[in-house]
């Protein structure tokens, strides 16, 4: 009896307060695939609603239909009580829906103010810009978000995290009722993530709703009220986040049990493979000395801007260095270019695979063999037969999901693309393989596969360096952890003694002198 009353009461409550957004039975078909199949989704006012699912589950498609990038095939969208069908992102923005994309859409050579007001500049008579007023408003918006940046700063000079905050400020300026955040934390440091979460909470307090898309499931629990899981274009479940945990969520997303996220296998540490002595590079890298060993995964942790990527790029010969001696298998080697690095058996999986790793318009085969074409060349021509065999071997052993060797890389999913880039390096039979943010933007299932490949490589005696901003990944996969702060090595932690706490202590250690030396350069960068 009392139960019935309770149900009725909550029912009345939800009907009394119609949701801000309701998407009903959304269906979208792309050539050859049903991207969304009758998906229902709703967002209440002032709610943070997490949208999770593996890559290709349909999250982005659903959001693109909402913001007007795609047209839906069927279904209806009701926003603020009105049925809507936005035909482009501008229309949805005017209606109060702002998307903050993974790849930021900002003009780097314009100031923060100019970016916030881009397209909606305040003018006198439609001509002269009201600079002081715009700067003042920008300052107010930034202050609201507790951001200590001068609105005159060029956006290109800000870190990715700050750029994202500027996007949030822009959304606030547009009086957005609903902000879609697509993987907002994928390139943020822990501190920036905390700042972002505080901002999300404030947005919420002001009645702004947020749709939060992320691969970082722990985050979605911390921040969201409800969670919706999509899988293969179908709605699996929408429920209060408080009723979920990571394991359950992964099971819902993947549709099967994933007993462990990090399938680490510990290998016996072998001989020293790589030794770096006295590496210096301007103000970005100072006095770097370390060794990496066969069969070892050396995690490189640190805050964004600490110099981790710069360090691995320097080792790979991608950027010039001021000084430093490199030894491979005990022998001194000269690495002046990436070519030297490749020829000496060093490989680098860059953090931005689309921009720096892949040839999107080339086939899977061409991508795999690009670094070993010289070896495959007999006389004038490349040995087509061997090339086909070789790439097939890696397609098979890495279980690369492709319709064939001739498929263009651009048509592959993120995880599959990462495997293609990995194959490119595996064919070179590397002694040292550097992974820079190896699983960024990759779904749970594919992540585990990448980790297993790391295990395999370690087993074969490859020395692995892994840069990652995800502490669980660092802790889960590393045998040893090197913490970098302000361009210097701050310390090493063994697997047994490492914890998030210890890493953060090292990463944020304030050696005032070092910071003072380096910070001006970081800011003027």
């Amino acid at each position: 009896m009392s139960e019935t009353i309770l149900t009725t009461a909550s029912d009345t409550e939800s009907t009394a307060k119609p949701p801000l957004l309701e998407m009903r039975s959304i269906t979208k078909r792309f050539p050859g695939v049903l991207a969304l199949s009758e998906v229902d989704f709703d967002v209440r006012k002032g709610e943070v609603h997490a949208l999770v699912g593996e890559n290709g589950a349909g999250k982005s498609t659903l959001m693109k239909i909402l913001s007007g990038v795609y047209e839906r095939d069927s279904g209806e969208v009701i926003f603020k009580g009105q049925p809507v069908a936005f035909r482009n992102p501008r229309q949805s923005q005017l209606a109060g829906i702002t998307t903050i994309y993974q790849e930021l859409n900002q003009v780097p050579y314009l100031s923060v103010t100019e970016n916030i007001f881009l397209g909606t500049e305040l003018t006198r008579g439609g001509v002269a810009l009201k600079w002081s007023e715009m700067h003042q408003q920008a300052r107010d918006l930034l202050a609201k978000l507790h951001l200590d940046i001068d609105p005159r700063t060029l956006v290109g000079r800000l870190g990715v995290g700050m750029q994202q905050m500027v996007e949030v400020a822009k959304a606030l300026y547009h009086k957005a009722d609903l902000i879609i955040m697509d993987e907002p934390t994928s390139s943020l440091s822990i501190r920036e993530i905390n700042d972002l979460f505080n901002i999300v909470r404030e947005l919420k307090a002001e009645g702004v709703s947020v749709i939060y898309i992320s691969h970082h499931l722990e985050e979605t629990f911390r921040i969201s009220d409800r969670t919706t899981v999509l899988r293969d274009g179908h709605l699996i479940k929408t429920q209060p986040s408080a009723d979920l945990n990571v394991d359950r969520l992964i099971r819902l997303m993947v549709g099967r049990d994933l007993s462990e996220q990090f399938p680490k296998e510990i290998e016996v540490r072998g001989d020293e493979v790589l030794r770096i002595e006295g590496l210096n590079q301007g103000a970005t890298l100072r006095d770097i000395n370390f060794s990496a060993y066969a069969g070892e995964v050396l995690g490189i942790a640190g805050l964004v801007g600490a110099g981790r990527t710069e360090l691995v790029r320097a080792i790979f010969g991608a950027d010039p260095i001021d000084s430093g001696t490199f030894y491979l298998d005990g022998k001194k080697v000269n690495i002046k270019s990436s070519r030297d690095a490749v020829h000496n058996g060093i490989g680098l999986l860059t953090e931005d695979r689309k921009r720096q790793g892949l040839f999107l318009q080339m086939t899977v085969r061409e991508n795999i063999t690009i670094s070993v074409l010289e070896r495959l060349t007999r006389g004038l021509t490349t040995n087509r037969k061997r090339e086909v065999e070789l790439s097939q071997q890696y397609i098979d052993s890495l279980a690369i999901k492709t319709s064939g060797q001739d498929q263009l890389a651009i048509n592959l999913s993120g995880g599959t693309q990462q495997k293609v880039v990995l194959s490119k390096w595996l064919v070179t039979k590397p002694r040292v393989l550097i992974f820079d943010e190896p699983t960024r933007g990759i779904d749970v299932g594919a992540k585990v596969e990448i980790y297993r490949m790391m295990n395999n490589l370690a087993k074969q005696g490859v020395a692995i360096l892994m840069v990652s901003s995800e502490l669980p990944e660092i802790l889960g996969m590393s045998d040893r952890i090197m913490v970098v702060t302000a361009g210097r090595i701050r310390g090493f932690l063994d697997r047994d003694e490492a914890s998030e706490q210890r890493i953060m202590e090292l990463a944020t250690a304030t050696d005032r002198q070092t910071i003072a030396e380096v910070l001006p350069d970081l800011f003027s960068e």
Partner: protein, 350 residues
Amino acid sequence: MTNTSVDTKQSSNGTAGFVRRMLANTGPLLILVALWIILMILSEPFRNPRTWGLLALEVAAIGVVAAGQTFVILTGGIDLSVEAMVSFAGVVAAILIAGTSIAGGQVANGLPSVVAIAVALAAGIGIGMFQGMLITLFRMNPLIVTLGFRSMLLGVALVWTRGAGINILKDGPLTAITTVIRVGNFPIPVPFLIAVVVYLASWFVLKHTKFGRYTYAIGGNETAARLSGIRVDLVKATIYGISGFLAAIGGIMVMGRLQSGAYQNGTNMTLASVAAVVIGGTSLSGGIGGIWGTLIGVTIIRIVEAGMVYLDVPSTAKEIVIGAIIVLAVMLDVIRRGEVPWLRIRRRAG
């Protein structure tokens, strides 16, 4: 999902892939065939094989130049110096053959044409590679570097010839490479055969050598190419060398045909070569395209020009038509690639 969202035309190996590539190439080819048929219907002389022979001759020099341009554009660059190189190489060879830089009558006591041609071609490679080195080593913009060299090369040709043509007499070898041979009823100009050889060689290099693969890789993603251990600078410099070399061959062809080396020999060839490459489906941003499309592009341009002559369109209007073709070609290109949001025919899942 992206995996499964691949439409069937994309997922291809063997014959399917061949058919797909054929389909991708058919756009320009269909236009060419349509033009041909229209002209056959409208114009009496166009049904004569002699006209075709003439057309083949017209295609030869610009075809060779455009082949070089194709390499450059595939890497994401552009070579605006080709027309100047055509003139320059012709002037160099003519001066050496004539033994004088004074316009008018052939003195005929210069070097044998073989030597003169070799010098001109070497100059083509050298100057092309030098431009490539400036572009790569100093990270200079190819547009500006090649524009500057266009001006310099034309200037040198002008100074050396004092603005007039250097006339020559053809010796045996030069006659041999500029003559027309007959196969049955069909006249086939030797320059056209040379052009065919150049295209076969270019196709071979692009498809079957690592150098060709690197060309596409650099155009598709220069950063990734560098990080894959490719000597990007060397490949790019070489490619400007190839462009200079092929432009010099084009210059010899024009000079041999006119029996005169003059600074105007290459007029309009830069625009025509870039247009041919684009009409042929090679992307101006690099990484996508191929050599056969360029040959089709060149033929389309020449056939339109010839058609205008046979249809009594005033030759002064030629530039208007060529300009329009270029703009149309680029338009078709971006539409076909789905880069025009409001015209996008099929969209991929993101």
